[in-house]
Symmetry: C2
Subunit: 70 residues, 2 copies
Amino acid sequence: MAIIVNLDVVMARKKISAGQLAELIDITPANLSILKNNKAKAIRFSTLEALCKVLECQPGDILEYVADED
Amino acid sequence: MAIIVNLDVVMARKKISAGQLAELIDITPANLSILKNNKAKAIRFSTLEALCKVLECQPGDILEYVADED
DNA sequence: CATAAATTTATCGAAAAACGATAAATTTAT
DNA sequence: ATAAATTTATCGTTTTTCGATAAATTTATG
């Protein structure tokens, strides 16, 4: 694991629930959950854009690179 | 347009060419060019990870959200 | 503690897009 | 001018998102 999705942090900052966020960025709660819990293997820029717009943040607030042993 | 790929900036900082970077992250120069020039519509975390590793940077250094009218 | 609400997990199928391979065109160096 | 590097373009394959849906699980709430 190396690219981490930190949506929880940004959501907490904005005080928004997963259900609300899913509705605002127009994806199903199921799919947002996958993204939010690091089960996704890629992300469309359209989705990242919607997240940044709604959460008023930058990609760097959501995505983090964590170096690991190898 | 809203999510911008700022690879040029990071590459300049690291003084690395597109050809070299493509080889290091193991994708074709053609595909790196697409990504680098904002022609891609998504990115795999495996690719973003490789970029961050080689360029010693964070996703936020590469991806930027630019708000526009709408 | 019971029940409702919210979230997560799991399938399935369809649509989208990455990516390799390749070649041609273009741009940039020398 | 010539070579090298980069970009653009196609095509086919593979990967992955994403919707739709339902079940399972977790988290509130009375």
